[in-house]
């Protein structure tokens, strides 16, 4: 039981699940998308990026790349949300909402790839 591996896998999977949770739901219904979940997804994504840095193998490089992509997308979603609410002064709805949800969808894809890589690495090690 390697605690470092547990923590590593924990954060990667948590990033994916939070991201998925946020993404799930209709693109036109703001109540389906909880801002706290987006917040948590961003935080966990950042932490998992930091965890992934420092691995010099090819796999490590791809891991890091997917994580950074997910970060970008989620932060972009947060920025769009923040701009709509504060600068434009409207509640989230319509165009802005669908933008936020699509961006989080993009991040979701990156996280899925990351988890797939993690799983395949685990399986190959087990063998």
């Amino acid at each position: 039981m390697n605690s470092e591996k547990v923590i590593f896998a924990f954060f990667i999977v948590l990033a994916l699940t939070l991201n998925f949770g946020f993404f799930l739901g209709g693109m036109d219904n703001a109540s389906h998308h909880n801002i706290y979940e987006l917040y948590a997804a961003i935080v966990v994504s950042l932490i998992s990026t930091v965890l992934k840095v420092g691995d010099r193998s090819h796999l490590g490089a791809v891991f890091l790349a997917t994580s950074i992509v997910a970060d970008f997308q989620l932060i972009a979603a947060a920025i769009v949300w923040g701009m709509t609410e504060h600068i434009a002064g409207q509640t989230l709805g319509g165009d802005a909402l669908s933008t936020v949800v699509s961006l989080s969808g993009g991040a979701l894809l990156a996280n899925i790839i990351s988890v797939v890589l993690l799983v395949s690495e685990t399986i190959s090690v087990r063998r």
Binding site: Y39, L46, V50, V53, G82, H86
Partner: protein, 574 residues
């Protein structure tokens, strides 16, 4: 370079995570804890405002409680998070600074910066392995001549000394072991601009290793090595076209030369000495018995050379067990007066203190001087730091191990033809040598003579090269002696003498005045500093050259020259 980033990020991992989590918790807290707006209505902070507040709180800027004054609950939370976030930042910054101070990190930085600088070299340079006394002197001499060097030494202190030293052209340096191939590759052994590698480690084995590695990596590169034993010397000479300097051999053969032909000795001494020194007076060494103190490598080499000259010798050696001690040697400590007396110091003509301890050498000679004030005293100086002592002792001849090697190597680097010239000159007898010396002194007069090479080709001497295409240029026009500036300019006298000419495979010593200069001729010149500057200007600047040779000023611009060529005026003389 990427190495550096990886080291950096590895160390920064935990501070970054701490920072992210502390920020996350603080922001969340501010979002959840309810506040009141200025009308007293409940108001929730959005993530955006919370992030804004936490940012300027954590970076200790502290704009204030915006947009509305905080409730007490919010203030409680602010209190806690204030300390947490600031400490998290300090932890992160402290770790960052720690990484930059880390030895491993700094070494990596130095290595990558060294690598980058070597790659960007665009001028001829030499690699020097070993920065002891010899290495530092050689580097200084090269730097004075504006030749770049790349220095490698495994001792960190020496590299620090190098960085603290003053150089006209600062060398690149790396603290690493030169006998490893990857270090030599980093230093640029395969670089197209690398002109040679000089290995000057104290241990012969290290020099041998460097020579072997250099031979494998770049067989065409010129290698100059220092070796102190004949075995290492033969070994290094056996592969590749290497040059080996054995300081003991060099000095011993010089000393033998001084006895055989003092003018030749002066010539050698001057030509391979430090620039900026006049030709010395020939040493007055009489014929008679010489005493050699110490029968190590130096002593042996001295014995061999002086014996070849037929000089009667006596050796003093404290260690009875030394092998091959010649007959008649005295066993005892040469620092003591009775040992010296026993060896016949009173009748001796010269004494050489050649042990490897400077204090002993000085002591031997001081004792010797008391016993026989006229004796010719020669000492071996081992360490650079004792220079003042040896100067104060006012000896007749001094062998400075570092100097001998570095000066010889420097002379070979600066003027590659010197080796051939000296080989030819070494066969002169004393009278011929005298003649040569007096000619040189006649040309430079009282000034300090310099040595330089001149190759007649398009790159180095564009004006001269063009000139010889159109007309005959004789040696006496450019390279030597009286030179009259026709027209209204004054007489210019170039204080220079061409010593040696190499044309293809043929060598000519002291080329005659009426020899025609052809392209790809290589001249070894000797003369004053001002003569050198003038000559270099002359062979590069077509206008100057024309005005000197033809006695007229041709127009400088291209158009007018073409015009002139079409309607040439009568040519005065060549």
């Amino acid at each position: 370079m990427s190495n550096l980033f990886y080291i950096l990020f590895r160390r920064l991992r935990s501070p970054l995570i701490v920072l992210i989590m502390v920020y996350a918790v603080s922001i969340l807290g501010f979002v959840l804890i309810p506040g009141v707006d200025d009308q007293g209505q409940p108001w929730k902070m959005s993530f955006f405002h919370a992030f804004y507040f936490v940012s300027f709180m954590a970076t200790t800027i502290g704009f204030g409680e915006i947009p509305y004054a905080f409730t007490d609950a919010q203030r409680y939370w602010a209190l806690i998070t204030m300390y947490a976030t600031v400490v998290a930042w300090l932890y992160g910054i402290g770790m960052l600074l720690g990484v930059f101070q880390d030895r491993v990190f700094r070494q990596q930085m130095q290595k990558s910066s060294f690598l980058r600088r070597v790659k960007s070299i665009r001028e001829p340079f030499y690699i020097i392995c070993g920065y002891g006394d010899t290495g530092s002197q050689l580097t200084h001499s090269l730097s004075q001549e504006n030749i770049l060097s790349v220095v490698i030494d495994p001792d960190e202190e020496r590299i620090n000394d190098l960085e603290a030293d003053d150089f006209k052209m600062p060398p690149l340096s790396l603290c690493a072991d030169g006998s490893q191939s990857e270090v030599l590759e980093m230093a640029g052994i395969k670089h197209p601009w690398c002109k040679g590698i000089v290995t000057l480690a104290n241990e012969d084995s290290v020099n041998l290793t460097v020579a072997i590695v250099a031979q494998l990596l770049n067989p065409d590169l010129r290698l100059i090595a220092r070796a102190e034993t004949p075995e290492a010397e033969a070994n290094i000479l056996s592969f590749g076209a290497n040059e080996v300097i054995n300081p003991f051999e060099t000095f011993s053969s010089r000393l033998a030369l001084a006895l055989r032909s003092p003018s030749l000795f002066c010539l050698y001494d001057w030509m391979t000495g430090v620039s900026g020194q006049k030709i010395c007076e020939p040493p007055e060494a009489k014929q008679g018995m010489w005493i050699i103190c110490g029968f190590g490598r130096f002593g042996r080499s001295l014995y061999e050379h002086l014996d070849d000259e037929g000089v009667p010798l006596r050796v003093i050696e404290p260690n009875r067990k030394v092998r091959d001690l010649p007959s008649g040697s005295v066993i005892g400590r040469p620092t003591e007066a009775n040992t010296l007396t026993k060896s016949g110091i009173k009748d001796a003509v010269g004494i050489i203190a050649g042990t490897d301890v400077d204090a002993n050498n000085l002591s031997i000679l001081m004792t010797a001087e008391e016993l026989n004030p006229d004796v010719f005293r020669v000492a071996r100086q081992n360490e650079e730091k004792n220079t003042h002592l040896f100067q104060a002792a006012d000896l007749d001849m001094l062998m400075q191990r570092g100097n001998v090697i570095s000066n010889t190597i420097f002379a070979f680097i600066r003027t590659p033809m010197l080796g051939d010239f000296l080989r030819i000159v070494s066969r002169f007898n004393n009278d011929k040598a005298n003649e040569l010396v007096s000619r040189i002194v006649g040309v430079v007069d009282d000034e300090i003579p310099e040595l330089w090479e001149l190759t007649v080709n398009e790159n180095e001497t564009p004006a001269l090269y063009k000139m010889i295409e159109t007309q005959q240029v004789l040696v006496e026009d450019i390279l030597y002696g009286e030179q009259l500036n026709k027209g209204d300019a004054k007489n210019e006298c170039i204080a220079a003498l061409p010593l040696f000419l190499r044309r293809g495979e043929g060598n000519v010593l002291l080329p005659e005045y009426n020899r025609i200069i052809r392209e790809n001729d290589r001249f070894l010149m000797c003369g004053t500093y001002s003569a050198r500057q003038h000559m270099m200007r002359l062979v590069k600047n077509i206008n100057l050259l024309e005005s000197v040779l033809l006695g007229e000023e041709l127009p400088a611009g291209w158009l007018l020259r073409k015009f002139r060529q079409r309607n040439p005026p009568e040519n005065k003389n060549g």
